[in-house]
Symmetry: C3
């Protein structure tokens, strides 16, 4: 909790309005009536007009779009100001006062695993040595955490999930605001990762938590080794992600998408269901039509890629 | 152990034959006389004709190739049925009744390492904090396991081996059968990884166990950081695999193969000895002639790749 | 400490000179007066002429360039001989006699983290379960080590540094000398990693220690997940390295370099400040002019790459 006056001080703004108590930070559309939000560009003007946030960090040119119910904190570099403020709304990762973990029936927990307070673990789980279960994590039934896997605080894992050795669920998304002199200010990541039932995650893969809300790994997804999934991604049901593939932040895959080994998808994209990406392919645009197979970087339909390789081979003659 | 009648029930087949006790599951050629096997396509007809398995899950059209000594379990989707059944033949990863680990002379084991039952560790080993040694693992002499490395159950490691921090040896191969509605059924991986003498494995690399049999890392192989080696691969003596390279399942490298950084090899290939792959190259076909250097994706000889780049550069004029 | 006579014996050379005590091994220019060095090619002739080393392993053809103050150990395969000898000058990674770790004020150390002797930890640090802090490591103030991260012996970490789960700082650089019969002899890595203030390292990334001296991660650098940084690299201030990018050994980045996802830089290069590499790009040459943006492999300026892709697309018509 923080007073709006204190917030204004932290981000270097004069504030003369009412003394509001702000309990959290969130996106324009998800902010509750005691939360603060921010807007960085006119692209989000409609969201700004509809926000329920108590206050908003806003560039001068958008100030007329702030709803009456919402206190405006007008400034330059609103994105940077949000990043500076995000530090004050981080959640704890350790809490002596949270209740002791609750462990379900028939769950085997190695004495060398570590479970933080507030965690709730279902029945028939197997938690091997070196596995880490963070503050307030929830695991369903029949979950296996292999050695030295790490589940960060606040993440939620469904039933029948396997996480192989060394994989990391819920590490901070890679988000920074930049100063004019080229320094980077961390945007503290306040979301989590939600993993649904029947998911398997290979060894040494990484799934970042959301900045706000949840990174989602939906039912039946299978992830291989050394895969990277960025913050706020949504991986559709039964998708398959082969080793060393990477998905940048805020990308949504439909169901049954297949990513070949070492392939990649840029951030903020939507990929239609049943899309297949060959190994090494790289997508930088939305895929709207479902069921197609792509290859190459830049990406093209697989049969076109084969034709292109034939043409390129001709260059050698 | 499972009765053949129970097996038939699990995979949804009517079975009226003799009550056989089945003790394991294996490939057609490796199955012993008390094991069950499977065949998914006519490509393996010759193997089927020569199997010693007690029983076989077989598509209807191959039923005439089943030897007399072998009970046929005819069905559709035999590969999927095998996956469903594989769950019943998994080995335990924890076993209270297995003997306590045996530790050789002069080996230093951190009190924060973890050694499961049945493990046998040689002389002069150094096992640092957070290292995990699974059930029935065998380590030779002079082995160093750096912090938070994980050796899964049943793996075998020779003498003078170094495994750096965070690396994972023996995690499950990435194998699934698929239902008609797009769900994935895990093929439980019953094999292990065998690492011969004088091997070094960098940090956060992953080597998957075999589905049956062993993934092999032969004598003197050197593996860098963040490398992926799929299930059932055989990495020939003195091969060098540079950082972020990946090898898909069931590929065999001859001796002294060199993989450059971020290169990749598809599954089920044979690579001749003394082959060199430049950084970023990607092989999708067998390499039969030894001693050549390749580059690019699609792969070509390195000198040809250089010529191609010159031609491509001309396109810009 | 080792007598020069013993050293000569280890590398198979007859030595008749004075009985010197050699206390370490180092590069020609960094070697102190009680250290041994080596030279493998005439490229380093000038360095050889200026070395202060007590002795040098030197090819026959360079023997006339050895300074008078320096004892020459002339031989064939001097690089291989150096590798063989490097084993005798490794530092310990465990030391019962080193002092107990020193922990600063208000630092929270999980009982399941592990801190080796000689480590010094600053104030207000948070060391989570499974984190490993090696022999003689130094951490500044406000450092967070997430679960199962590993900091190898002798590394130094500044203030306000975050290391996410599973990342490895200081694992051995990937360096080997090769025998005529294709075997690899480990060059033992005697350097460390130095991480300056305000650095953040994502999950499951790997940063190798230097062979001699230090791999440097300078102030304000931000590294994403699954990134590889080779031995003896210098990463300039405020550089950003996105997920799955890799930098080979001995490359120096200027300040504010940006590496996109899955990009790569070869070893022994210099990259000018404020250079940006698009995702998947691969640099194999020095970048001398600062502030440019590159793409592709082979690398070219980004606008040229866009033009090239347009030309390539035309091939399909």
């Amino acid at each position: 909790m923080m007073l709006l006056k204190e917030i204004a001080k932290v981000i270097g703004i004069a504030y003369e309005g009412p003394e509001l108590e702000i309990k959290g930070m969130n996106t324009l559309l998800d902010a509750l009536e005691h939360e603060i939000s921010f807007v960085a560009s006119s692209q989000y003007k409609a969201d700004l007009e509809n926000t329920k946030a108590a206050a908003v960090i806003v560039p001068l040119e958008l100030i007329t779009s702030v709803p009456e119910s919402c206190m405006a904190l007008p400034c330059e570099e609103s994105y940077l100001k949000m990043a500076i403020l995000s530090k004050y709304f981080t959640r704890p990762i350790l809490d002596d006062k949270a209740p002791s973990p609750i462990i379900g029936k028939n769950s085997q927990i190695s004495s060398k695993a570590h479970i933080e307070n507030g965690a709730i673990i279902g029945d028939n789980c197997t938690i091997l040595a070196g596995a880490y279960i963070g503050l307030h994590v929830r695991l369903g039934d029949n979950v296996t955490l292999h050695p030295n896997s790490s589940i960060y605080a606040y993440c939620e894992i469904g039933n029948d999930v396997i996480v192989h050795a060394g994989s990391v669920v819920g590490s901070d998304g890679f988000g920074f605001a930049h100063t004019k002199t080229g320094e980077h200010v961390k945007i503290h990541q306040n979301g989590n990762v939600v993993i649904e039932d029947d998911v398997e995650i290979g060894s040494n893969s990484t799934i970042d938590c959301a900045v706000f809300g949840s990174t989602m790994i939906k039912k039946g997804v299978k992830i291989d080794n050394l895969v990277q999934i960025g913050h706020n991604c949504v991986i559709g049901e039964y998708s398959i992600i082969v080793s060393q593939a990477g998905i940048a932040g805020s990308t949504t895959l439909g169901r049954n998408v297949v990513l070949g080994g070492q392939s990649a998808i840029s951030g903020h994209l939507n990929i239609a269901p049943f899309t297949t990406f060959a190994g090494r392919s790289g997508a930088t645009k939305n895929i709207k039509e479902s069921g197609k197979t792509f290859a190459g970087f830049p990406l093209m339909e697989h049969r076109q890629w084969l034709r292109l390789q034939a043409r390129i081979a001709k260059l050698l003659r």
